[in-house]
């Protein structure tokens, strides 16, 4: 697999999500292109690099989504002020968990079928979302720090992200079709397992 193509695709997908993606939102149901790109690569890339390439996409997603943390300010007599903080890690781990779930499914899914790719995207996004929320809850316990869903609740965030995962799966249908047209650029190696049989041994007659 060509890493340069994957990195370019991840950056374009992240930029698409951060700009034009809002048009595709219906309430909390909002599809993201980035999971589709990751799942597309996961379904065809060598298994040994699957987790790593998902982590890379998770890192990009983390870097582009700073969270707002509130801090007591010393200059304003201790009043609360808001501050942006980039936490690189929650989506890295979430995407890694999603990749660990999708990789074993490769054998079960018809890879070129958009429906099966959408199902894989749903599974990937759901697990990534659960891991993301869990990590921020743990971070909240450990550090008493801010969460991205403040002033909402963790439960509400899980529901919102479950809807988001459904949106990702819906968007994956056209996205996978488009990505499949670019398959030749990605440099995936196609390995066909040839099993010996009567026809190959010339003993059918």
């Amino acid at each position: 697999m060509r890493w340069s193509v994957y990195i370019a695709a991840v950056l374009v997908a992240a930029a698409f999500d951060a700009s034009f993606g809002a048009v595709l939102a219906v309430g909390d149901l909002r599809g993201h292109l980035l999971p589709s790109v990751v799942v597309f690569a996961l379904l065809s890339a060598p298994r040994r690099i699957g987790v790593r390439l998902a982590m890379l996409a998770g890192l990009v997603a983390d870097l582009l989504a700073p969270i707002v943390v509130s801090q007591a300010s010393l200059v304003d007599g201790g009043s609360d002020t808001a501050e942006l903080l980039v936490v690189p890690g929650p989506r890295v781990l979430g995407f890694a968990l999603g990749a660990l779930a999708v990789l074993p499914l490769r054998g079960l899914l018809a890879r070129h079928n958009p429906l099966s790719s959408a199902a894989a995207t749903l599974c990937f996004s759901l697990l990534a979302a659960v891991a993301f929320v869990a990590i921020f809850i743990v971070r909240g316990w450990v550090l008493d720090g801010g969460t991205p869903w403040w002033p909402g609740t963790g439960g509400g965030e899980v529901l919102r992200r479950a809807l988001g995962a459904a949106g990702d799966a819906i968007l994956a249908l056209p996205a996978m079709w488009v990505l499949a047209r670019t398959r030749s650029w990605w440099g995936f190696t196609v390995m066909t397992r040839v099993s010996p049989g009567l026809a190959r041994q010339g003993g059918a007659g």
């Binding site: 950056l11 700009s19 809002a22 002020t81 936490v87 690189p88 890690g89 781990l93 403040w150």
Partner: protein, 292 residues
């Protein structure tokens, strides 16, 4: 010989586990350990994304135009109304400033110093990226320290509506905006929709400290005997955001309910007038000495 052996050791599953542990450590690292380097890294990543996301925001504005574009009235009328709103904001700003001056002599000296040295102006900045994971997340704009932007500066839309505040992670050419609905508190005064009466003292207009709610609105307990009504306009009356931001519109009152434990106070809910995610450009306050 040492390096290749280490690289051989750190490959395959071991490399995956090491990266995962590194990510876990970064996820649970305190704010002080992350702040010095993560913002710079994020800015670095956002550089190659800028052209694509700028084009995406342009397309988004075309596909889903801002609310004003659907206004059937003549553009001249809209422009004039916007000017009226801006001047009303300036008027409220002047009144709030006046009240503050009268409050104490020490404040007067500080304000005089501020007025003398305020070399501030308003500038337009484009939104080049938003948080893809949430509608009320932070946004990135194409203005930074080189344009004279400072952390804590306010961002306005439609002339006088506060939508956000510039965050601490300022870059040379870009900056992040914290949405107003994510700020821990906002000091405002509530005015009738038609504006304040010059002959009425400012104390007749109740003040409130807004706190964000889970619905993307704010709530505040108003301990005032003054009448409250739906549709009242909340204008910023908070010195933390600078003189330029005073009087900017924040939201409108959408619900009023009594508080059982405090019969003289009422709880109001205020809905924001504009959302950062619905706009492609914002007006920010910059130092006038900086280049355009």
């Amino acid at each position: 010989m040492q390096a290749p052996r280490f690289i051989r050791f750190l490959s395959g599953r071991r490399l995956d586990w090491s990266l995962a542990l590194l990510a876990l450590a970064a996820s649970l690292a305190p704010v002080g350990a992350l702040r010095p380097w993560t913002s710079d890294l994020a800015r670095l990543v956002s550089v190659p994304l800028a052209p694509v996301s700028h084009f995406g925001v342009f397309l988004r504005a075309r596909v889903r135009p801002e609310q004003a574009a659907f206004d059937p009235r003549a553009p001249e009328t809209v422009a004039l109304e916007q000017e009226v709103r801006q001047f009303r904001a300036l008027y409220e700003q002047a009144r709030l400033e006046n009240e503050r001056l009268e409050r104490s002599i020490t404040a007067l000296a500080a304000v005089r110093a501020r007025l003398d040295g305020t070399g501030q102006r308003l500038a337009e900045a484009s939104i080049v990226g938003t948080d893809a994971s949430r509608r009320d997340g932070a946004a990135r704009i194409n203005a930074g320290i080189r344009h004279g932007l400072r952390a804590g500066s306010v961002a306005l839309v439609s002339g006088d509506i506060l939508v956000g505040v510039v965050g601490q992670d300022l870059g040379a050419l870009s900056a992040s905006l914290i949405p107003a609905t994510k700020l821990p508190s906002l000091g405002v005064r509530l005015y009738p929709p038609q504006g304040s009466d010059p002959s009425t003292p400012l104390s007749a207009y109740p003040g409130a400290m807004l706190k964000p709610t889970t619905r993307g609105t704010w709530s505040a307990d108003v301990a005032s005997t003054q009448p409250l009504s739906l549709g009242m306009v909340a204008r910023l009356a908070d010195d933390r955001f600078g003189r330029t931001a005073l009087g900017a519109r924040v939201g409108t009152v959408v619900a009023i309910e009594p508080i059982e434990k405090a019969p003289l106070a009422r709880r109001v809910e205020i809905a924001p007038l504009a959302s950062l995610g619905d706009h492609s450009t914002v007006i920010v306050v910059v130092e006038s000495g900086a280049p355009e």
